[in-house]
Symmetry: C2
Subunit: 167 residues, 2 copies
DNA sequence: CATTTTATGTCAGTGTTGTTGACATTCCAA
DNA sequence: TTGGAATGTCAACAACACTGACATAAAATG
């Protein structure tokens, strides 16, 4: 991938504290933009980012268990449970007792859950698409490579597995 | 900047929802990694991310005013005030009545404030540097371009101005 | 000079999201 | 049958955001 430039990695990778600081601030400001659109939608439904994250990963892994979500989201079960309960009570998430292991709950989005997840997802994808277009194709690969390198290693599996999952 | 690839932008910028979803998850997981190291340090000092952000931008703009910080951080004055008061009370930030305009407060880091900010900054820069090194120089430019395009336009000024500020 | 606006600080109340700790239930597995 | 895993729930608490209201000082404006 890449390495199409004329200069070697070493000569370009002299990183001043100033350059790193700019990268840090870019993450800060960009993450605000990244969450801004979904936040506005969530507000209308009296939900927060925690609900968005739950909806996202239930949509991503239909039938996932609570424990799997806990691992991905990195919060306590009490915290996740509060959020999931609200979504289940409101009829956005269906929590079915596991067939193989009846202690587990398999989580699915209902029709209205799918609808909200789509609405949130569309908004977030729209901004991501615009940013990708503005930055250009090479930037997209670089963006993802830096982000992946910035993750905690344990999290990388959630990101790396199923490179292009069954579609 | 870039465009050194052999394919045109258009052919590479066919973005599937799947690719966009991966970008979204990359942001989510990477931001967690991005804040993980400072969070651990802050915990020991009974501070949170809000304190880190305040320290960062006071260090970045010594003598800045409360109003300017409010604009950058995008929180309410009550929220910022709580954080600033703690930092001032603990002797990490010096709040001096403005000379030109006495309504304003000019904010500076004290010696111990500088020390903590350095500690936090070092940790965060260290991870950023590692990510940059792992991803390579082309990735760095792409990373920053995508992030900048993802920001809300109003925020871009805080990021773009003083490209390489007086050093 | 009087009035208004601006910058800041503060108090009270509320909501979301996270945390610990404790305890109950269900059920797989040794 | 006992132990432990998976889940759910209750209570309490903390960080960090919010709104609304009010106070003070000083600049700006008429």
């Amino acid at each position: 991938m890449a390495e199409s430039g004329s200069q070697s990695s070493e000569s370009l990778l002299f990183l001043t504290d100033e350059q790193l600081r700019r990268g840090i601030e870019a993450m800060f400001f960009a993450y605000r933009g990244f969450t801004a659109d979904p936040d506005r939608i969530l507000e209308q439904h009296a939900y927060g980012r925690a609900h968005h994250r739950a909806l996202h990963f239930v949509a991503r892994y239909p039938g996932t268990t609570v424990n799997n979500l806990l691992d991905i989201l990195g919060v306590t079960k009490q915290s996740l449970n509060r959020v999931l309960r609200a979504l289940v009570d409101d009829g956005l998430v269906d929590s079915r007792v596991g067939t193989r292991d009846k202690r587990e709950r398999n989580l699915y989005l209902t029709q209205s859950g799918t609808a909200l997840e789509q609405e949130l997802s569309d908004a977030q994808r729209s901004r991501m698409r615009a940013a990708y277009r503005a930055a250009g194709p090479e930037a997209v690969a670089g963006f993802r490579n830096v982000l992946e390198a910035m993750m905690d290693p344990e999290m990388r599996k959630h990101f790396s597995d199923s490179k292009e999952p069954a579609r």
